[in-house]
């Protein structure tokens, strides 16, 4: 007796194996295309963000607040390198994806040599807050971009800090209160004026312009607008951005020394060339507290000049 069976011929075997290979290649290619597309989109968002950071610099203003609304929940990665003449600010972006991995790999970073972004290494949110302040040491060195998405609570800050934070529409996500108990739940508390028990403590020097910010037991020395950078940024980012700012200050000091020589040839001597050159040399030490005195001396000397340098 014969049983009726299915003949599994070579043609079938060949067709099945080729079909499997084609389906595998199609899945592999589409996965690759989605990954490349996501990376391309993330790179484009970072580049567009870079374009947006250009007009937010200050001219004559003392500070500016901005809110940056993003189309989707986004992670912004702030990388800083202090190598080279001015160091580099790198910003890369990862937008939350609905397909595959929730947080895909960040796109290619957008690089700037003339921007200083103070933030945590990764900032996440659909709306990012920017607080822009010029940094003068003693001449204008650049604009500090303070970037955050988590709420802060300033407990009993000095009047000038309170005024700056509330300037215009006020900085969103920064509450000013008189005691820590009034801070909104989930906010990062920042104690001024000798207050204790906060996440961050600011110890101001008597001059009111300099001091140190205590974070997780570590001091971050600040001067002037760097106070906000020290509050918001992590230590690594803060130290790197300060090193970059010192490099730019040194280059600017040499530029002002050259300007002074140019003016001397037209009979308007300042006599500050030597001081500016030695200031530029000392800036490589990155010793902020030690440099403040020198910077303030230069500021006073410049004010006395007929042809002011800066």
């Amino acid at each position: 007796m014969f049983k009726k069976g299915f003949e599994f011929s070579f043609t079938w075997l060949f067709a099945l194996s080729v079909g499997a290979i084609i389906i595998f290649l199609a899945i592999y290619a589409s996965r690759g295309l989605i990954k490349t597309g996501t990376e391309e989109y993330n790179t484009k968002v970072a580049a567009e963000l870079g374009v947006l950071l250009n007009p937010i610099g200050t001219n004559l203003e003392s500070s500016k607040h901005y809110s940056l609304a993003l189309p989707d929940e986004t992670r912004l990665f702030n990388d800083c390198s202090s190598d080279g003449a001015f160091g580099l600010q790198k910003l890369s972006v990862s937008v939350r994806s609905g397909i595959g991995q929730e947080w895909p790999k960040a796109g290619i970073p957008h690089k700037f040599a003339n921007k200083y972004v103070f933030s945590q290494h990764a900032v996440q949110g659909k709306e990012l807050e920017l607080f822009v302040k010029p940094f003068n040491f003693p001449f204008k060195v650049g604009d500090l971009i303070i970037l955050y998405s988590t709420p802060f609570c300033f407990v009993a800050p000095p009047s000038d800090v309170e005024r700056e934070v509330n300037f215009g529409d006020g900085a969103r996500y920064i509450n000013v209160t008189t005691s820590k108990e009034n801070c909104p739940r989930g906010s990062v508390s920042v104690c001024f004026s000798g207050g204790t028990g906060c996440n961050i403590t600011v110890i101001m020097n008597q001059d009111g312009r300099s001091g140190r910010v205590m974070k997780q037991g570590q001091p971050l020395f600040y001067y002037d607008a760097l106070l906000y950078g020290a509050i918001v940024a992590d230590k690594e980012t803060y130290d790197c951005q300060v090193a970059r700012l010192m490099k730019r200050t040194a280059e600017l000091a040499l530029l002002y020394a050259a300007k002074s020589e140019l003016l001397s040839s037209r009979g308007c001597s300042s006599g500050l060339e030597g001081d500016l050159r030695s200031y530029a040399q000392h800036l490589s030490s990155n010793n902020l507290p030690g440099l403040i005195i020198e910077s303030e001396t230069l500021e006073r000397d410049n004010e006395k000049l007929t042809c002011g340098l800066f």
Partner: protein, 172 residues
Amino acid sequence: MRNLHVGFSKGQLKIQQMAFVLVAFIILLGLVAVFFISVKTSSLRKDASSIKHEQAQELVRKLAGTPEFAWTSEDCASCVDLDKIMALKNRTSYRNLWDESITLLQIRRVYPSPGEEIECTNGNYPACTKITLLDKRENYTSEDAFVALCHIEPQAYAKCDLGKIVMGVSSP
């Protein structure tokens, strides 16, 4: 001697047929992929170029306010310090400060203009019309912004002329 005859079975013919179809299918896929990649690349190039130009437009507008250009003696947002820019001309380290896509950075006096264009040097400054800070000698499309060019005269008073900042961005 006996002749050897090679015979083809129906199965072998089918396999050959399928192999040809597969080769044709793969060529077709390849053509589609090449077309897709070229469309994607051209759109990416267009996007990159438009972002580059947007960035240059924004940068040239804000350049007058940067510490290297700003006139700080008075409160004037669109005044640039020509003495500082002249000093900047000789500093090579500053080439790294500008974006890589910037191929030309020039400051030109528009009014009063002596007629012919004269590049500023230490010998003829300020009786000249343009200061070239960067010129990579590449193809570029330019963006410009009008500014007041201020400098200190020998009698220690400030004099400002009308000028513009010209920025060239590399064009594909």
